[in-house]
């Protein structure tokens, strides 16, 4: 038996790790993966709450999140490839053309 809140706290931990990765990593691919980690953390909350309410709507939301993540990955990786072709680097600090 596990209290439901354990799942939610686990989700929070994963989300915060995602945020940390987003902030600490310099590699654009890893940053992108940190975003995916955050999405996954939220998905866990959805599934846990779906269990709590005995409703499937939460799971369907997870489904939608996955589809959006897939779309995001396709476009995002396309952009990364384009950027890499231009700048020969995946470091976000080097992508500072429009930074003032």
């Amino acid at each position: 038996m596990i209290p439901l809140s354990y799942y939610l706290v686990l989700s929070a931990i994963l989300f915060c790790l995602g945020v940390a990765g987003f902030l600490l990593q310099r590699n654009i691919v890893t940053i992108f993966m940190s975003v995916e980690l955050m999405l996954n953390a939220v998905n866990l909350s959805f599934v846990a709450l779906s269990y709590h309410f005995r409703l499937l709507d939460g799971q369907i939301f997870v489904f939608f999140v996955m589809v959006v993540a897939a779309a995001e990955a396709a476009v995002g990786l396309g952009i990364i490839i384009a950027v890499f072709r231009n700048r020969e680097s995946l470091n976000v600090d080097r992508m500072n053309l429009i930074k003032w």
Binding site: A82, V83, R85, N86, R87, E88
Partner: protein
């Protein structure tokens, strides 16, 4: 508009050293490839891994001994090399072998051509992934090698052609045996064609891939089936006949497309034409001696050596000193399975050639490879290498 912003500034390319140890470089070809992904931007051939110094070694041998070296140049068609060298020396000496020897030479040469094309087809198909064809081809090649063994005692390094004729009288019933083997061949060729010619994947892999235009083929001095697939109607057997090829009727297969498929079709048809030539040779094989009557050049035959003093001395002289060839130079070309195989021999009047230079078809054909493969995928390169049918021994000599 934004296309410009994402245009590649510095292309990241990869240098891939393909070979000399690689399953489909047909020996020890080393290709330096510049790849963008799998697309070949630049292909450079690095040859010389199989350099054996045969041309130079010939200078230290007598004209007779050099025969055994020539067939090691191209291990897929030893008899063609023998023939070319022997014809060149005969030209210098002004000898004309008897017609039976000439017809035997033609027949064995065409058998060699079939055998060589079988190896080409097997390895080429294997490169493209059709493994079964390889096994089928080697099964049939085995029959041809058995014939060589029967006639000369050797399967590959036969040294069967000698200056002035043949080395030995073919064994009794040899022609019958050839006939029997040849009778099965049309079916075998049909079998290969069934597996490949109308195969969708085969056509997709070979059609309009590795195109060599007629102009390029001429510029690169490409010869043989590779040139004929690009629409160059040139076959030395017909256009510059030697060894009484003019007495045979055969068609020279020709295609205009210049792609891998055209080369495949040309070689397949050549095999059928070679069969025709072999059959004509079997039907019209003249009787008579197998060697020209030139005691100073030709080794005495049979039991003469055991009963006649002159024959023994003759044998001794030819073997120890060799025979002298009048000074001069000669170029003799024959149509090898790969194209124009030519021997340029300079004689200074001694028993050793002053210089032997081999014009090898694979060497010229290999030059066309970068033109065929650049801008295409790695898989196409493999198919292209197979389609120009190179033998590294002949390139490096």
């Amino acid at each position: 508009m934004f296309q410009e912003t994402i245009a590649p500034v510095g292309k990241r390319t990869m240098i891939l050293n393909m070979g000399p140890q690689h399953p489909s470089t047909h020996g020890v070809l080393h290709l330096i490839l510049e790849l963008d992904g799998e697309t070949i931007l630049k292909a450079t051939a690095d040859i010389g891994f199989l350099h054996t110094g045969i041309e130079k070694t010939c200078e230290a041998k007598t004209y007779h001994q050099a025969i055994t070296l020539t067939e090691r140049i191209d291990y897929l068609c030893p008899l063609t090399n023998n023939l070319c060298y022997v014809l060149a020396v005969e030209k210098l000496l002004g000898l004309e072998p008897p017609s039976r020897a000439q017809w035997m030479r033609v027949m064995l040469n065409e058998l060699t051509r079939i055998g060589s094309h079988l190896v080409w087809l097997g390895t080429h198909a294997n490169d493209i992934g059709a493994t079964t064809v390889l096994l089928y081809c080697f099964r049939e090649r085995e029959e041809i090698l058995n014939l060589f063994e029967a006639v000369s005692g050797q399967r590959m390094m036969t040294s069967y052609f000698r200056v002035g004729g043949l080395a030995l009288e073919p064994p009794a019933g040899f022609l019958k045996r050839v006939e029997k083997v040849m009778a099965t061949f049309p079916d075998h060729i049909d079998e290969y064609e069934e597996l490949l010619t109308r195969n969708r994947i085969w056509m997709a892999r070979t059609k309009s891939v590795g195109i060599l235009t007629k102009e390029d083929a001429l510029d690169f001095a490409v010869s043989g089936p590779t040139a004929r697939a690009s629409g160059i109607d040139w076959d030395l057997r017909r256009d510059n006949p030697y060894s009484s090829y003019d007495k045979f009727s055969f068609r020279v297969p020709l295609r205009a497309e210049g792609d891998i498929y055209a080369r495949y079709i040309v070689r397949m048809e050549e095999m059928r034409e070679s069969l025709k030539i072999v059959r004509q040779a079997l039907e019209g094989m003249p009787e008579g001696p197998i060697q020209v009557n030139a005691p100073a050049v030709v080794l005495p035959q049979g039991d003469n050596r055991k009963t006649e003093m002159e024959a023994l001395i003759q044998q001794f002289k030819i073997v120890i000193d060799g025979f002298c060839v009048p000074p001069g130079e000669v170029y003799q070309a024959v149509e090898s399975p790969r194209g124009e195989m030519g021997y340029y021999i300079v004689s200074d009047g001694t028993a050793h050639p002053y210089r032997v230079k081999v014009r090898s078809p694979s060497f010229a054909n290999l030059q066309a490879l970068p033109r065929l493969a650049e801008g295409r995928l790695l898989s196409d390169l493999v198919a292209c290498i197979g389609s120009i049918d190179i033998v590294l021994g002949e390139i490096d000599r």
